[in-house]
Structures are given as C-alpha cells and as structure tokens.
Symmetry: C2
Subunit: 243 residues, 2 copies
Amino acid sequence: MTYCVGLKLDRGLVFMSDTRTNAGVDNISTFKKMYTWSKPGDRVITLLSAGNLATTQTVISILNERTKIPSERAPSIFDMPSMFQTARLIGDTIKSVIHDVDSDGQRADSFGASIILGGQIKGGEPRLFLIYPEGNFIESSPDTPFFQIGEHKYGKPIIVRSYDPAMTFEEATKLLFVSFDSTLKSNLSVGLPLDMQFYEVDTLKLGFQKRIERNDPYYEAISEGWSQALKLAFQSLPTFKMD
Amino acid sequence: MTYCVGLKLDRGLVFMSDTRTNAGVDNISTFKKMYTWSKPGDRVITLLSAGNLATTQTVISILNERTKIPSERAPSIFDMPSMFQTARLIGDTIKSVIHDVDSDGQRADSFGASIILGGQIKGGEPRLFLIYPEGNFIESSPDTPFFQIGEHKYGKPIIVRSYDPAMTFEEATKLLFVSFDSTLKSNLSVGLPLDMQFYEVDTLKLGFQKRIERNDPYYEAISEGWSQALKLAFQSLPTFKMD
C-alpha cells in the first residue's frame, strides 16, 4: 500500500509520501513514490504515485522518454505549456500503460494506479491535480485544498479538522506528520522513510526537500507528543452521564 | 455503509452502532443495527450487523424463528449452552443465508455481512466475537479487546491510542463518541442516530441503553469539544524546523 498527500497552501504546495511497497506482508520493499521535474525559472512539477508499482514506474519511464536512447531524450513534460496540459499528458500516459497490460485479459483492478500532480509553470498559477487510472483528473479548489492517495482514511480526520490555507510550510509539515503517524500506526503496509517537499509560490525553483528516516528526532517527537496530547485532549472532554 | 463497535472492558461490554443504510447516496434510510436477546438471570446477547441489509435482516428473522407461526416460536438462541455455541449458530445462519442468494449466480460480495456478537450466558464469562460472512469467527483477547465493522478506518486511531481496559462505561462512551464523530465527519454514509448499550459483568441483565438522536447535547459537546481540543493538542506539538 501507500500513503501520499498533496496540500495547497496560500504560500505554495506541500507534498509528502511514504516509501513502502509490498506484494503481501512478507515481501516489503522501499521505493520512492515522489518524482520531480524542475527547470529553474521555468517550471517545477512534482508527481506522487500510488497503486501498482510496475504501472507507476512505467509511467515515469515513459514521461522521462526512456523509450529513446539517452542522447535523444528530451522529456516532453518540459514542453507542456501549462499544468493542465501536463495533467492531460500524464493522464493519457497512465491510461495507455494500464490498457497495454490490461488488454491481455488480466484483471483491471490489479494494474490500477493514481497520481497526485502539483507544480507551477511560468506564466501560470501553482496547481494541484488528482489523476485517476482512467486518465481523467480533478483539480484542487478552496473547498478541496488537498488530495490523498493510497491508504487515506486513517489520516484524513486530522487534516479535515486542522488544515488552514494560511498555514506556514512548517505547520503543514507538522499536520502531515500527525496524519502519516496515524496511518503508520494503523496500517503496516505504509512505512518510513517518508519523502517531503515544499514548493513556494512563484519561485519556479525546487523548494526544501527532505527524506525522513527511521529515528528522525522530529518525527519521533511528533509521534510521542501526539499520543500524549491526544490523551490530554480526550481527558479535557466532558464525561458522559447516564440518565 | 455502517459503523459498529464492540468493546470489552474489565467492567463489561460496550456496544455502539449507527443507523444509516444506503443504496446509493440518494437513497438513505434509518435501520437499527443492534439486536438484543435477554432473559434476566440467564443470558444477555447483543448483535451488531454491517453489510447487506437483506442478509442481516434475514439472519435476525431466522434467529428469531420467524419462519414459524408466532405461537411456535422459541428462538434457539435462548437454548445455546455457551457464547461459543451462540457464535457458531449465528455463523452457520449467516453462511447459509448468503449461500441461498449467492447460489443463484449473483456476485458474492454484494450479499456479504459481518456481525459483532457479545454477551454472557450463565456459568460462562462475558465474551465478544467477530463473525465473518463465511460463517467462521474470532474472539477478542487482551491484545485485541475491540472489534469494528463497516467503515472502521476513520475511527480506529483514537481507539487504538486511548482505549484502556480499566475504563468506566462513561469513559468508554466518550471514546466511542469521538470515534463515531471522526467517522461521521468523514463519511456521509454513516449517520445519526446512534444506538448504544452497556453490559455489566455477571449481572445477566440488560444494562443501560440509549438512542443518541440528532442534536443530542452530549454528542454535540463532544463533537465541538473534540475539534477544539484537537486544535489545542496540535498547537502544543513542537514546530518543524527546516535544516
């Protein structure tokens, strides 16, 4: 399984993804699920993927034009005039990759994958999309300012309750750490390390990025602190009275 | 959808269930998902159901021997010598109900249902079971002292973090209200009113029970209080620093 979140703030975009993939609980590996294409001053595009690993890796390889010899590669993702066109390119790619394996009579479900796409291209606004395995996609809005893919349920309530578009990147990181920690505590198939990345509006360059490894002191402080804080929060509520 | 929880405490058992059923989001009804058989001094047996409503209602009708004319009904659930035998009876019933509709060539998934069964029969301990649509079942233990069925993910993290077997019934109610509120806030297909019931160890009589209606003052206090308390808890955590 997987857990990835893309969050749109007034200040920019925040991305976080886990790195665990599994084929059964006895076959667990670490794979990066965050990919970035950046050309400073022109564009920064970040993609998070969930679902069948063969599908998502093929999509990335095609986007990187690995179908050509190295000297001829010029990823068309750098030629797209807008984030909308980029989302269409990626949507078409994922649809055709799934169709290729699927058309040999295999079940569709197992090859499925979803993608969160965010970034900014010179001349446009920062945008955030959720791309479905069918190739179509939706864009974030003030009403739905974040997307989650993979094992999204455990970590959703805290985002719903605490998200604020005026948050700083640091506060958003804290929020996502809590959301990821709730997910990790509930589902073995989502695991550390985590990848995180910020994109600041109109900078058109790669923002802060970090891999959060096991034993990261801040992650541990949040994980333990949240357990304690939740207990106190819970105690602060009025007690039920039978009547 | 549905959300039901059965919780085992040192003091006894706590049950809570929502009442929303839906066939699509435009066809929503209220149905009780909590059923109780009690004979004071002899046994109290409570059942929570999730899944296909036709399946669960048929299971309940068969358990109540509605296949017979009213004067001949003597539900065999009152004759079972132990909770384990009761779980087997219910497991066999659900399996055969699903098999009956299923064998006409329809898909199995859509007729599925799960059941939480808890209670005490004279001479035995209070016990709590989770019964699968296949008819087999598992029993709670100190390591897994609660079962959830239906839309269980949103409300799990708070139970995992705050459950304590030494809790009072009142504290357990608070815990389950928070868990249900997180679920209701995240999934439209789980809805008020809620049914709740306590069973106190060795009393062999029905404990406190209540239906929590829309606008219940305690439920509202928990729902609003928890939002506030979570915000404070979140603020109390250390802030991330880029380095």
